[in-house]
């Protein structure tokens, strides 16, 4: 599949009404719309380059710090003895690395900015 395929598809279907999530292809479609001078394929590559760049840095064990947005780091978990919850059997779990994201102050504040809760969100809290 070429670059345009996903992008065209996202434009075609548009954002699902009332959707509570944005996918990679919707992000690309939004950016393409806001930057009509760029080709869709380029917008797709820009988004890919950013997230691939973050992944590659984490794979090298490096930290990615984007001021205002947040920081990606790799945390190390020690080997431990886990348990199969079904049988209760002890299973050795190897040490492993886990990607971790900590939101930056600006983004955290933005998410917590006082505002009237959306009806959907309010209903969920009540439940």
């Amino acid at each position: 599949m070429g670059y345009l395929a996903t992008w065209d598809y996202a434009r075609l279907i548009g954002r699902y009404p009332g959707s509570t999530s944005m996918t990679r292809s919707e992000l690309i479609a939004d950016l393409a719309e806001a930057n009509p001078h760029l080709r869709g394929a380029d917008v797709e590559r820009i988004v890919g380059t950013i997230f691939d760049g973050i992944s590659a840095a984490l794979a090298r064990g490096e930290r990615v710090e984007l001021r205002g947005f947040g920081a990606f780091t790799v945390k190390h978990r020690q080997a431990r003895t886990g348990r199969n919850p079904r049988t209760g059997e002890a299973v050795p779990v190897d040490e492993k690395a886990v990607p971790f994201f900590k939101a930056g102050k600006e983004l955290r504040d933005r998410i917590n900015r006082p505002r009237s809760p959306r009806p959907a969100a309010a209903a969920r809290i009540e439940a």
Partner: protein, 120 residues
């Protein structure tokens, strides 16, 4: 330890996509801004092969100042959580994405057994 910053990511866009350095930096900013705006509006953001950013509502609870032992109310707030996709988890463990760890899922609380993270 090396830290990757906006400058490095903008440079990668410049090299990969061939936009000017200025425009590369602007587009990086636009991507982060768009993700931030979606999260601010309460949407989660799913990046296939990378992970999902979502906003979780936390209720009011009673906290305690660990130094004085004094009780302090913690007001309801919203926190941002990032769930790495299995592909990203593979990559930081030096595996090809999609290969898994080849072992049994231990059912621990790291969510490794749940495939809803970001890989669509």
């Amino acid at each position: 330890m090396n830290t990757v910053t906006r400058a490095h990511l903008a440079e990668a866009i410049y090299a990969q996509v061939g936009l000017s350095r200025n425009e590369s930096a602007d587009l990086l900013e636009a991507v982060l801004e768009r993700v931030g705006a979606a999260l601010e509006s309460g949407e989660s953001v799913k990046i296939s092969g990378f992970g999902t950013f979502s906003v979780r509502q936390k209720g009011r609870r009673i906290g305690r100042n660990p130094k004085t032992g004094q009780e302090v109310p913690i007001l309801p707030r919203r926190v941002l959580v990032f769930r790495p996709s299995n592909g990203l988890k593979d990559v930081v463990n030096g595996r090809q994405p999609g290969m898994g760890d080849g072992g049994l899922d231990d059912g621990s609380d790291d969510g490794a057994g749940y495939d809803g993270a970001g890989d669509e």
